[in-house]
């Protein structure tokens, strides 16, 4: 190999590496990014069976049922539609009735959302940002005018 060929092969190798990395990144983005929905968005969303999504909304009042062991069932609502959610694990400290939550998981055959994580992280208005935006766009929630 001449020096020029050598250099070319190094450059080609580098480019191939970068190409592979880019391809992998965008493949992963397509596969692994999970979309955020509110209950009322679900009718218009076309979900693949078993697709992971994040479901956000308010914990509907009076729907929290503690089942066997650490399993909890509750409904997430955006005041238009409700979705029943089950979750096994420890609920976050900030999980309360009528407070915003984001759950992540998949839909079961019977339409119940099986969450493997429940987040109630939020800003000082006790509302996760995504949920607040979603509710605002649906006109359900106004910012307090204090």
């Amino acid at each position: 190999m001449t020096r020029k060929q050598k250099r070319l092969s190094v450059i080609a190798g580098g480019l191939a590496f970068l190409g592979a990395a880019t391809g992998l990144t965008f493949y992963a983005l397509g596969q692994k990014a999970s979309y955020f929905y509110m209950p009322a968005d679900l009718t218009s969303a076309s979900l693949q069976p078993g697709q992971r999504i994040r479901l956000g909304g308010l914990v509907e009042k009076g729907t929290i049922e503690r089942g066997q062991g650490a399993t909890v069932a509750f409904s997430v609502t955006d005041n238009q539609k409700q979705v029943k959610v089950t979750y096994t694990g420890i609920l976050p400290d900030l999980f309360r009735e009528e407070q915003g939550v984001i759950t992540e998981g998949t839909f079961r055959q019977d339409g119940v959302f099986v969450a493997d994580s429940v987040l109630a992280k939020h800003d000082e208005n006790y509302m996760p940002k995504e949920v607040a935006d979603g509710l605002k766009s649906k006109g359900v929630w106004q910012e307090s005018k204090k």
Binding site: G14, A21, T25, Y27, K32, K121, H122, E124, D133
Partner: protein, 663 residues
């Protein structure tokens, strides 16, 4: 005292403007007096900022609620330590800490930069001053911590309970020392671009600053990870949360910079690339500051959000990143290329390291910014979490880690990969043994887990091999080995320690992810539970009262083989009345390098409590490894070659260019 602090802050801003303009002008005019202004001004600026910060901390310590910031983030009943750490547990105070550290580094350059050429030093201080000026302006205009309330309220609104923890005392200062430390590398780069001259000597002058920044950033990230681990009660040590990524990206880029600067120093090669990396590293630090401070992300870091601040920081970001990159594009072509090298060589290995690290940085950057971009162009909200990073970041890291032990053993310019492979046979054998032992003797170990353990041992043994080979192990007499070992440059130990730490961290991660077990159950007092060979008995819930909270403590007894209690672990639910918030304090028992971790859930109606237990094998190695990495950086810093002094007149007059060594 409060107003003195406020005035000192304003004065520090005025000085930072002078620090920017006068030395820059002086370097341009080659005026020694003007260039000399930079030093005293930088030191004075630091003193004033420190005074200002002390005034704010004092206001916090004495619960001076006439300061709006104190009123908003403190409470008279908080323990004194959390009153003081509350100083930087909020937006305004943490920005003040940011500039304090910035001016601190500026002051260090002024105080210890006597070995730098005057123009370089003047330009570095000028760039540093410019960064300071914009952030002082940002603080004064949008986030003034000294805004006052009159009449003063009598009680504060308390610090966010999640932040009332010793982790907060240590994590942000360390992280900022890292973040902001890279500003020095940035300033050196921009200064070099302004002068249009860059040499191997430049890399040596920048190196200690890179090491310092990298060391603190490593510590800051590790501390943040441990804090999240025990404070959030989820048992995870890394969440790929955007805020974590914001600190991880400068670390990856900074690690690349650390390595490419070696090539530049030794071989005068990769000069342009190193400059670019230095600029990018600090740009990523700024980006991180922007992401966290502007509130474009929502995350566990529950700080306030305010769009005007976001726009202001975005302007700073554009100014410095855009400006420096434009300068780079303008000047890069005028910089000369350096020495040549063969692909298989120390240089080649370091280039490979850079290739992987920067690509990894890019994937983290894309994963972090992609959701923001999608949300900006469409209304869709997506989240990119652990699955994405596992798929992209993981495959990039594995080959890099495999290659690490080769690097330090390869010769400069042209290396012999087979000779190196031969020297690494022992390490390879150890790794293989680890794989086999794991696969055969540990129940439920997957192939991946076994390979992961093997990889960790490969790194650890590789680092030890490096030291052994350089001490002449196997080639010289034992007595000489010891003498050689003692005489090795500190930087060799630094490298080996850092790589060893990386191996330990890898081992911790693999151990926790692959062999950890977890149980969620609801327990009544008196019940016992088994987890990975440990027996725990739940003793019950006991109420207790803290200074500014009340809590229910769940007591768990760890039972020995004979049923006696060997240790008591408590996890509690705390309720802070002022903010009406509840937090969970996890209970952790360290056994060897592993930990038993438990956290309390809700109380059931029948008196039972939901309990979540984890067995986390080798988990402490994750942070222990980071400490070893920090130690590596510290040892490297002590290397004598970093202490190159200023040229003395006597030697110069002797005209001792070492002509004997000319070819």
């Amino acid at each position: 005292m409060v107003e003195t602090g406020h005035f000192a802050l304003v004065l520090a801003f005025a000085l930072s403007v002078v620090q920017t303009l006068v030395p820059l002008f002086g370097a341009r005019m080659n005026n020694q007096k003007m260039m000399a202004v930079g030093g005293p001004v930088a030191v004075t600026g630091f003193a004033l900022t420190a005074l200002s910060f002390a005034a704010l901390a004092m206001a916090y310590a004495t619960s001076d609620f006439s300061v709006a910031n104190v009123w908003d983030n403190s409470h008279s009943l908080q323990p004194l330590i959390y009153k003081i750490t509350g100083t930087w547990g909020n937006h305004e105070g943490s920005m003040l800490l940011w500039v304090l550290i910035l001016t601190f580094f500026g002051g260090l350059v002024a105080a210890f930069g006597s070995n730098l050429p005057a123009t370089l030093r003047a330009n570095v201080l000028a760039v540093q001053g410019a960064i300071g000026a914009t952030f002082f302006l940002f603080i004064l205009a949008t986030s003034n911590p000294f805004a006052r309330l009159n009449p003063a309220p009598i009680e504060g609104r308390d610090l966010n309970p999640i932040l009332q923890d010793l982790g907060l005392a240590i994590h942000p200062p360390l992280l900022y020392l890292g973040y902001v430390g890279f500003s020095i590398c940035f300033s050196f780069s921009v200064a070099a671009l302004i002068e249009g001259r860059i040499d191997a000597s430049w890399a040596r002058w920048v190196r200690p600053w890179t090491l310092v920044a990298w060391m603190f950033l490593t510590g800051g990230i590790a501390m943040g990870s441990y804090w999240a681990y025990y404070e959030l009660g989820w048992g995870g040590f890394w969440f790929w949360d955007p805020v974590e990524n914001a600190s991880f990206m400068p670390w990856l880029a900074g690690t690349a910079l650390l390595h490419s600067a070696i090539v530049m120093e030794k071989r005068s090669a990769l000069k342009i690339w190193t400059l670019l990396l230095a600029i990018l590293t600090f740009s990523l630090s700024l980006l991180g500051t922007f992401l966290v401070r502007s509130g474009v992300l929502t995350s566990v870091h529950a700080f306030a959000t305010d769009p005007t601040r976001g726009v202001f920081i975005l302007c700073i970001l554009t100014l410095f990143i855009g400006g420096s990159l434009a300068l780079f594009a303008f000047r890069a072509s005028s910089l000369t290329a350096g020495g040549l090298f063969h692909p298989i060589s120390r240089e080649g290995a370091l280039v490979l390291n850079n290739l992987f690290l920067t690509t990894a940085t890019a994937t983290v950057l894309i994963g972090t910014l992609y959701p923001l971009a999608v949300e900006a162009v469409s209304a869709d909200k997506i989240s990119v979490g652990a699955p994405f990073f596992n798929l992209t970041f993981g495959p990039l890291m594995v080959p890099l880690l495999v290659a690490v032990p080769f690097g330090p053993l390869l010769a400069w310019k042209r290396g012999d990969i087979f000779a190196v492979a031969q020297r690494l046979m022992a390490a390879f054998a150890a790794a293989l043994l680890a794989v086999l032992v794991t696969a055969l003797f540990i129940d439920g170990a997957s192939v991946f887990a076994a390979l992961g353990v093997g990889l960790a041992f490969w790194l650890i043994c590789g680092a030890l091999t490096d030291i052994a080979v350089k001490s002449g192990f196997g080639s010289v007499a034992p007595g000489i080995i010891f003498r050689r070992f003692a005489g090795l440059p500190r930087s060799v130990f630094g490298t080996a320690l850092a790589h060893l730490g990386l191996g330990l961290t890898t081992l911790g991660i693999v151990g926790t992810l692959c062999f950890g077990t977890e149980k969620i159950l609801s327990m009544h007092a008196g019940e016992t539970v088994q987890l990975s060979g440990h027996t725990l008995r739940f003793e019950g819930l006991y109420p207790a009262q803290g200074p500014n909270y009340s809590e229910d403590r769940g007591r768990f007894a760890l039972l020995g083989a004979d049923g006696s209690t060997t240790a008591v672990i408590t996890s509690s639910k705390r309720s802070y009345p002022v903010r009406q918030m509840t937090t969970t304090e996890s209970g952790i028992k360290t056994i060897g390098f592993s930990q038993l971790y438990l956290s309390l859930g809700d109380e059931g109606t029948d008196g039972s409590v939901v309990v979540r237990l984890w067995w986390k094998p080798l988990v402490t190695l994750i942070w222990g490894g980071s400490l070893v990495m920090m130690a590596g950086a510290a040892v490297s810093l002590m290397d004598r070659r970093l202490r190159v002094g200023a040229p003395s007149r006597r030697r110069k007059s002797a005209g001792a260019v070492p002509s004997a060594s000319l070819p």
